[in-house]
């Protein structure tokens, strides 16, 4: 059986047990997605968007999601995942909502996708029956999705405190794939902050697929922070699609430390006049990790503003990809776009492929980009060493500072602190490796 055939047989085996199996429209959407997969398979490096990230090892993994009730982790196990601030919390274990681990404040407009498919399927149909799939990696999620967060912030509302979404993979079910779909609508003038934690353990290779669809109404604001700390054997495929209304503001911050293969793909459409987006992130790789950050920003209307800044630290034989595409549509005058990708390579075997791509079809716009890759600043290292700080600690300080300088100004103190701590924890073994070298 080829991989492509296996997509169809795996889908056929679980289709009847997937959430929303009684909804004809959803079954059709899922079947079409599975059909697309059966026909084309997962994207290959021949596709421009996947040129530097090979999914063929992923295609060999088990595609079936876990459908039996997952083992419930002790709530205490969530301890170190909690944010240092009050927040509503939705916990998903192996791709399924775990209400007993979750605390959603009264009036917080968040439910699980599986529940929403039972209670208000009609409201979800427009989200899930959108135009054709962007690619078959997305189709994979559509075919098998089991759950996710549905958050709808009504016009003018401010959701406070933040909503923390925790996606937990438990050791007991490694090997089973996880498929999550989040649907987030922040209506006109509303405001929300969301923190996502993706974490798993175990050494069994598995797929963790997350697709998040975001729609911001006019003047809405969404700040989203993500910590990706998947297990070392995981393939984490994240896709975020955001549609921004006039004068709305979408800020997306991510720290990626986990996974064997991790792709963070973000497609933002500035669909209303004067919309703004900020995409910032840090990816830290070691061993044979592969981090792919792919962003596509479309300035469709005038006076949009986009800011991108990603920093990577790569050790061992880790590899990272940064593909940043900025497209300015005809008529999107006064667009202001800026992109920067900076990389610190701690070993000779580490590798970065960075590819900015500006497609400008309008006059009177301001677009710039930059990319750097290098080792630790020798002058800074010397300064620290001249104060008696050993080369190992001095290197750690510089790498920590490189990462921290970006994270520290992220607009939520608790989130920034948590993400900086996660980055610092990642750094410790790097330092140990350097000491051994």
């Amino acid at each position: 059986m080829t991989h492509n055939e296996r997509f169809l047989t795996d889908f056929a085996a679980v289709a009847a047990d997937l959430p929303g199996a009684s909804l004809d429209w959803l079954c059709r959407v899922r079947s079409e997605a599975a059909g697309l997969l059966g026909e084309r398979g997962l994207p290959t490096p021949k596709a421009e968007a996947w040129k530097y990230t090979n999914l063929q090892p992923v295609a060999r993994l088990s595609l079936r999601p876990a459908l039996t009730a997952p083992p419930r982790p002790d709530p205490a196990a969530l301890g170190d995942l909690r944010l240092p601030c009050a927040c509503s919390r939705m916990v998903f274990v192996n791709g399924r909502f775990a209400p007993e681990l979750s605390t959603i404040g009264a009036g917080v407009p968040a439910v699980s996708l599986a529940d929403a498919l039972v209670r208000e399927p009609g409201a979800l149909a427009p989200w899930l029956t959108q135009e054709r799939e962007a690619d078959t990696a997305r189709a994979l999620n559509t075919a098998f999705v089991t759950d996710g967060a549905v958050i709808r912030v009504p016009a003018g509302r401010q959701v406070e405190p933040p909503i923390h979404l925790i996606y937990l993979g438990t050791d007991g079910e490694t090997g089973a794939a996880r498929y999550v779909r989040n649907l987030i609508a922040v209506e006109a003038g509303a405001d929300a902050t969301i923190f996502e934690t993706h974490v798993s353990g175990g050494d069994t290779p598995a797929i963790s697929s997350v697709v998040t669809q975001i729609v911001l109404g006019a003047g809405a604001a969404l700040r989203r922070f993500t910590l990706q700390r998947e297990g070392a054997a995981l393939s984490h495929l994240a896709l975020t699609e955001a549609e921004l209304g006039a004068e709305s503001r979408f800020e997306n911050f991510v720290v990626s430390v986990g996974g064997r293969l991790a792709r963070d793909e973000i497609a933002v459409r500035l669909a209303g006049r004067g919309a703004a987006c900020v995409l910032e992130g840090v990816y830290l790789g070691r061993g044979r990790q592969h981090h792919d950050t792919t962003t596509r920003i479309l300035h469709a209307e005038p006076a949009g503003r986009s800011r991108e800044h990603y920093r990577g630290v790569l050790d061992g034989a880790a590899r990272a990809v940064f593909q940043g595409r900025v497209e300015v549509a005809p008529g999107a005058l006064k667009t202001d776009a800026y992109q920067l990708n900076e990389n610190l390579l701690l070993s000779d075997d580490a590798e970065i492929d960075t590819k900015p791509e500006l497609l400008i079809n309008a006059d009177d716009v301001k677009c710039s980009h930059g990319a750097t890759a290098g080792s630790v600043d020798e002058e800074a290292l010397y300064y620290l060493r001249s104060r008696g700080i050993g080369v190992r600690d001095a290197t750690a300080m510089l790498v920590g500072g490189f990462v921290g300088a970006l994270i520290d100004h992220w607009p939520h103190a608790g989130a920034a602190e948590t993400l900086r701590r996660a980055a610092a924890a990642w750094l410790e073994p790097v330092v140990a490796l350097q000491e051994a070298a």
Binding site: E379, S386, F402
Partner: protein
């Protein structure tokens, strides 16, 4: 305490120091003056252990120990401190974190217990106050966005916190207005001690009005061309380096 003998140093194949000899006894404050390109900064960095310098001949011994083979951090552990002419900006590392790491790295090396956050803060506050600095600077990223004067004060703050046996101050006066210069000089003077030697490297006589050296050396073309008392600085002030430009300046 510091004995430099016939030191020859090249950078990128070009010889910068050409047989420099200098002896600095414990407790003494010596000035090294020289025009641009005379090798002043090279001397400072060769003593501090910057990489990229090739020593082709000569020695530099500190308290009897050969310095030139040691990495920068080990020289710091021996008690050598360089006040940088251009302190390096390090984004993302708070000044406080850096200072504490430096102090504790040296304490650890001496076998003393490391200071905890509270203990360190107490010491830091005392020194910051003594230098007329703003405590808020400790929270800022190291040297990032600091004015020239703030950077130099930060160097003297480190000198005060680390209490080295040998302080080499490289152009500590550059970029300072007169008030900042007086404060920095007062900070340095307060650290003069019988067991602490200082080497003040400067282009201008101005600093030496405030930090009065025991001896002045004129560096030109990579060698010391004159040594003497304060009167040398005065000659320089009056007549410029041309007064000492004998044979080697043209080659610098």
């Amino acid at each position: 305490m510091l004995v430099i003998d016939n030191l020859h140093v090249s950078v990128g194949g070009k010889e910068i120091l050409r047989g420099l000899s200098l002896t600095l006894p414990a407790g003494a404050v010596h000035a090294v003056m020289g025009p641009n390109g005379s090798g002043k900064s090279t001397l400072a960095h060769v003593l501090a252990g910057r990489e990229g310098y090739t020593v082709t001949a000569g020695t530099a011994r500190f308290a009897g120990q050969d310095l030139l083979g040691l990495p920068a951090e080990e020289r710091a552990h021996l008690g050598i401190f360089l006040g940088f002419q251009y302190p390096v900006e390090i984004p993302g590392v708070s000044t406080m974190y850096f200072l504490k790491a430096a102090v504790n790295a040296q304490r650890k090396h001496r076998g003393e217990p490391e200071l905890d956050a509270m203990e360190f803060l107490k010491v830091l506050r005392r020194e910051i106050k003594g230098l007329g600095m703003d405590e808020a600077m400790a929270q800022r990223p190291l040297n990032v966005g600091f004015s020239g004067g703030e950077k130099k004060r930060n160097e003297v703050l480190q000198l005060a916190l680390l209490r080295p046996k040998l302080a080499v101050l490289d152009e500590t006066d550059s970029g300072l207005d007169i008030d900042a210069l007086k404060t920095v000089a007062a900070g340095v003077n307060a650290l003069r001690a019988p067991d602490r030697a200082m080497l003040i490297i400067t282009h201008y006589q101005r600093l030496l009005t405030y930090i009065v050296p025991d001896r002045v050396h004129v560096l030109s073309g990579g060698v010391i061309v004159a040594s003497g008392g304060e009167e040398i600085a005065e000659v320089l002030e009056r007549e410029g380096y041309a007064a000492f430009a004998t044979t080697t300046l043209s080659a610098a």
